[in-house]
Amino acid sequence: MKPMTTSFLSAALVLLSVSIAHAQDDCAEYYKFNCERSTDARFHVNGQSRGASVKVGEETELNIIVYRGQDYRISICHDEKVLGGQLAIRLVEKIRVPRAEGGTVTTTEDVLDENGKPTGTTQEVRTTDRKQVYDEIEKVLWDNTANDMASEIEFSCTATKRIAVEVNAPGPAEEKKKRTEAGMDIGCVGILIEHMPTPDLGF
């Protein structure tokens, strides 16, 4: 009886791990079936919507483009059993900023006479070696921890921008942590993006 129980348990574990792996593979389309569409029919699903597997406590970001003249709705859904009740979410603009690099370089050179021969004395020569390099900076545009932990946001876009939707999952509460300790700390997150041309309202 005992070997049978062991083999049953092993088979169950194999099935469980297969289903977890499968669940992780399936995360790519998680947004399609789990995130709620806007009730405003003018919003269309944006091709940059994406699902991904996210590990508890590790930041994951989805980098997208938002166009000037469009309104967007971004909603985030997730596997609460694994990732916890609420996610920390931020919208961050990524900006490429120029910066002058380099500076003054001082070298010692021989002083030459009128025939181009060294006179035996030296002089300090300062040259400026400057070039433009670019840094990638981030500007936080919205943070749900300052907005009642909202899991969706609607906004108008008046300039084309590179945006990162950043998410971080706290994991389940203490009472449910056994599951996480058993290795189940990766769950699905869906990011549904919808867009419409910014409508003109009013007179």
């Binding site: 944006n46 996210v54 406590g57 920390a88 670019y134 706290p170």
Partner: protein, 297 residues
């Protein structure tokens, strides 16, 4: 005994369901806090071309089929990089044709895109069933746009699923170059238009995004040359003055406005440099390959 079993079952059921005494207090966590990972896992998505074309369509009237890469060239791309790049080109042409309701071209470019998709191993994105659906909807422009865009997104997803990173990078570069080409030709056909020029200027942002996406495969021999050529286009964009100003007032839709307004001063000289650079790159990568001289990858 029976009632005891019932009680225990009830207790375990309540525990499993997270009963009243197990309040789900999630640990406090903020992004960028000490408990966050040093570098986040980054995923990149490129916008589908229909989003740009629908904005351009508002300003630039009708589409022109002469701007598209001739579908007859499709059989003459031999190397993997040429097939991948031109798959990006043709799928963008398909979306353009459906967006501007060039119905005959939609059918033609659907089949062309399907053929190249198959040669790249992306089966299932452009199917015979969808083609039948497409043919049945040739008089319904909106449906064509949906079917074409679905095909584009399915191909994109398939390349991601199959971890075909370098191929995806080349496909997306082909799509970006063709989008730029089509918008620039639209400006030529429609006449200089400040709003359209601004759209070209704003493509600086999508190019930066594309290069970051491609950066992971920068050293891949199939990607390296194309990456460098795109960097030279970014260098032109870097010479364009960009001014950021805080947005004033509410959006016309009443929604919050996210971030600053951005003004880009794209001069005629810089615009011409961009046109030449994009034309050069497109001409080189859409040129048909001589099958006798090219070793297939």
């Amino acid at each position: 005994m029976k009632s005891r079993i019932l009680y225990l079952s009830l207790c375990s059921a309540l525990a499993a369901c997270g009963g009243a005494d197990t309040v789900d207090k999630a640990p406090a966590l903020v992004i960028g806090g000490e408990d966050a990972g040093a570098s986040p896992a980054s995923l990149y998505q490129m916008p589908t071309p229909n989003e740009l074309f629908s904005l351009v369509k508002e300003m630039a009237g009708e589409g022109h089929k002469r701007m598209l890469n001739p579908s007859s060239n499709a059989d003459r791309y031999v190397t993997l990089r040429a097939r991948a790049f031109n798959f990006g080109v043709y799928s963008t042409d398909l979306v353009y044709a459906s967006c501007f309701k060039l119905n005959v071209e939609v059918a033609r470019y659907y089949l062309t895109t399907k053929k190249l998709a198959e040669s790249l191993g992306i089966t299932g994105a452009f199917t015979d069933n969808d083609f039948v659906r497409l043919e049945g909807n040739l008089t319904r422009g909106d449906s064509l746009e949906v079917i074409s865009n679905d095909g584009y997104m399915a191909a994109y997803a398939k390349l991601q699923e199959e971890a075909m990173g370098p191929t995806l990078a080349i496909v997306l570069a082909g799509g970006w170059v063709e989008s730029m080409h089509l918008v620039m030709r639209q400006i030529e056909a429609f006449g200089k238009n400040e709003a359209l020029m601004t759209r070209v200027a704003e493509q600086k942002v999508t190019l930066e995004h594309l290069l970051l996406l491609m950066g992971a495969y920068e050293s891949d021999p199939e990607v390296a040359g194309l990456y460098k050529e795109l960097v030279t286009i970014r260098d032109i964009y870097d010479q364009v003055n960009v001014k950021r100003v805080a947005h004033e007032g509410a959006s016309t839709s009443g929604r919050m406005v996210l971030g600053d307004d951005i003004q880009m001063d794209l001069t005629a000289e810089k615009y011409n440099e961009l046109v030449q650079a994009v034309d050069r790159l497109r001409a080189a990568w859409t040129a048909v390959e001589d099958k006798t001289n090219v070793s297939a990858s």
